[in-house]
């Protein structure tokens, strides 16, 4: 104990000698400085502290993420059903995936979802952030309302939408039927059969995902509020229109944050389709209209007990994520070169 507390107590001393405190104390400071300690002491000690503090996280990361990931990676090249030991299958799983119509549908569903839902979510969050960044009556309530759906537990959120989507007594279709006759909309069309029509079901899942953009909204709200006010006053003096201000000032200044959020959302989009598809549509309606990669992996692994095959699909999902990130990263880097604060 004493051996460790000794240098620990002495540690601040050498630091203050170079610090601003000594600069103020003037020429009366030439004390003998323990040279060897200052050079090696705090450095190794702070490194040890760093490792200690990171340890719980690292243990969790290795035990709960890294090892399972490596196991998954290995399982992807085997056939494994939990009963018999894994059998080496080489690339069989992957060639099977390529020929699997359900997997192809799931892949397509996931990609389409990401391409449609991610921009919509970011745009919605941006719109709300720009609407609600000023102090005005009701903005506090409105901000809370925008954030609230994100705070609802996912399963409860799914069950809630199951009710909202109900074609007969669900409030969405009741709303659409207002003004129409014989259960039709005002335009004389049948309201969407959310859970039985493939296109409506896909749209429904996207609709569900739009309201959970709370985190994106909060980040964008903070980003907008952090932009300098004088730049906007400058634009006002120059008589820039609202559109000009948005296009020439707000959007470029928020672009780095927007890009980052889009990357994050694209990564997350492969996951946040799972609960809606699982709870609300159960991957249907036929033919697999809302079976996304995440649900495909879940069903293959835990319902059909094809672990090796599921692992291979997971690997594809991961590669897809990496590819999406790389593409966006390149775009951001190209943009960032124009950007020097």
């Amino acid at each position: 104990m004493s051996a460790r507390s000794g240098p620990g107590l002495r540690a601040p001393q050498p630091r203050t000698e170079d610090g601003p405190a000594s600069a103020r104390s003037g020429p009366a400071a030439p004390q003998p400085r323990p040279k060897i300690r200052t050079v090696s002491g705090p450095d190794t000690r702070s490194r040890r502290q760093l490792v200690l503090m990171l340890a719980p996280y690292l243990v969790g990361l290795v035990g709960l993420v890294l090892v399972p990931a490596v196991v998954t990676l290995a399982l992807a090249f085997t056939e494994y059903d939990l009963l018999r030991p894994p059998a080496w299958a080489g690339l069989d799983n992957f060639t099977a995936l390529v020929d699997d119509p359900i997997f192809r549908v799931a892949l397509l569903n996931s990609v389409v979802f990401a391409l449609v839902a991610v921009p919509l979510r970011v745009l919605l969050a941006l719109g709300l952030a720009l609407l609600l960044h000023r102090r005005a009556v009701g903005t506090g309530t409105a901000r809370t309302a925008a954030l609230l759906p994100t705070a609802v537990p996912e399963i409860a959120y799914g069950l809630l939408w199951l009710w909202l989507f109900n074609p007969l007594y669900g409030p969405i279709n009741q709303l659409l039927r207002i003004g129409g006759e014989q259960g039709l909309t005002v335009l004389g069309r049948t309201p969407p059969q959310w859970l039985t029509d493939p296109t409506s079901a896909r749209a429904g899942i996207i609709l569900m995902s739009l309201f959970t953009m709370g985190e994106t909204f909060v980040v964008l709200l903070a980003a907008r509020r952090a932009l300098p006010r004088d730049v906007y006053e400058m634009a006002a003096i120059e008589d820039a229109t609202g559109w000009d201000v948005f296009r020439r000032v707000t959007l470029p200044l928020m672009a780095p944050v927007l890009a980052l959020l889009a990357v994050r959302d694209a990564i997350a989009s492969l996951h946040f389709t799972f609960v809606p598809a699982f709870v609300v549509t159960d991957g249907g309606p036929p033919p697999y209209a809302t079976t996304y990669l995440s649900l495909f992996v879940y069903q293959t692994g835990f319902e059909y007990l094809r672990y090796g095959y599921a692992a291979a699909a997971t690997l594809v999902m991961m590669l897809l994520t990496v590819a999406a990130v790389l593409v966006q990263w390149r775009l951001i880097r190209r943009y960032r070169r124009l950007y020097t604060f």
């Binding site: 300098p228 730049v231 006002a236 003096i237 120059e238 008589d239 200044l253 672009a255 020097t340």
Partner: protein, 343 residues
């Protein structure tokens, strides 16, 4: 016709009145400096003129037009912010041309004029850089060019020199004055720096707690300060103020004094330390600044007096001197109101 008229303008910020019925007239082509300590409402004057803050009472006229109810973009003013407010994502030339491009002036023409404006203020070599790559002085020039380019009716400059180091500030001060003389624009320049005000201004308006304390040429502000506030705010070290019936009696022909308490004010350079009939005083400390020295004294009654003396003939700390001042070098103020007393 006046370039800018503020007619009984009051303004409030979050329920607190920060300008109290301010009357100001800036002639066309004049450079008016609004001078005052922080919190005096200087920047609010500019913001009210630009339309960034609403007035609670009064009218604002720019070049003969009543612009009180017009939005900022229609007032034809340009402003240089203390922070410069450059768009960080735009290059220098894009920054300068911004105002023209949002006003739908063709890009080629806007760029051409931006180039010309940049040449006027000496930043033509920076056109392709971004604000993040510029020094403080360079940003200042870009902000100036951006203000110049549109040929507005009034230029509003909000402490544009305060973020520069001293040497650059002095240089830019001179350039700013030269620029004003060259283009002959109506300018309102806000500063808390009295030297800057005295050097730059055609006229100075001294602001205190949202009220105009005095408007006058630098000479008038210096020689006939309208109040003790102006007297002490302009000049460094500040003017000495003592009760007229105190220990220190100025010498020479005394003016006619009324039967009410007065304060006499005199600048440090008016003080002599070897007057035969002067008041005895003790030297508390001495500051030497090159050729000059400032002696901080306490006269018999305990009042502080600052004297400027040549550094070569400065008194020693703790020495006793005899403080003298001539009536001709003094200013008289009503003790109660602080306003100037003119005999």
């Amino acid at each position: 016709m006046s370039g800018l008229v503020l007619d009984g303008v009051s303004a409030a910020y979050r329920g607190t009145t920060v300008l109290h019925e301010v009357d100001l007239t800036v002639e066309r082509g004049e450079l008016l400096v609004v001078l005052g300590p922080s919190g005096a409402g200087k920047s609010t004057v500019l913001r009210v003129v630009a339309g960034l803050e609403p007035v609670t009472t009064g009218r604002v006229h720019i070049a003969g037009r009543d612009v009180t109810d017009q939005r900022p973009g229609l007032r034809n003013v340009s402003m240089v912010f203390q922070s410069y407010a450059l768009f960080p994502h735009l290059s220098v030339v894009e920054n300068i041309a911004f105002g023209m491009e949002v006003r739908d002036i063709p890009r080629r023409q806007a760029r051409e004029r931006a180039r010309a404006a940049a040449e006027t203020v000496g930043c033509a070599g920076l056109l392709d850089r971004r604000p993040g790559q510029l020094s403080g002085g360079e940003r200042q020039r870009v902000a100036l060019a951006r203000a110049l380019v549109r040929e507005p009716d009034v230029f509003l400059l909000d402490e544009p020199l305060s973020n520069l180091d001293l040497a650059l500030r002095v240089e830019m001060r001179t350039e700013l004055r030269a620029l004003h003389d060259r283009i002959g624009a109506t300018m309102v320049h806000v500063t808390h720096d009295q030297t800057e005000a005295l050097v730059l201004a055609d006229r100075i308006a001294v602001l205190r707690d949202g009220r105009v304390e005095q408007v006058g040429t630098p000479d008038q502000i210096w020689r006939t300060p309208a109040s003790t506030f102006v007297a002490r705010f302009v000049g460094s070290p500040a003017m000495n103020l003592l009760p007229a019936d105190g220990a220190l009696r100025p010498n020479g022909a005394a003016p006619e004094l009324p039967d009410e308490p007065l304060e006499i004010g005199f600048r440090p350079e008016a003080v002599t330390l070897d007057a035969a009939d002067g008041a005895p005083a003790t030297v508390e400390r001495v500051e030497v600044i090159g050729e000059d020295a400032y002696a901080y004294l306490t006269v018999a009654a305990g009042q502080p007096v600052v004297a400027r003396v040549p550094a070569a003939r400065r008194p020693d700390k703790g020495a006793t001197v005899r403080v003298g001042v001539r009536w001709a070098d003094t200013h008289l103020f009503h003790a109660a109101s602080g306003r100037r007393y003119a005999p």
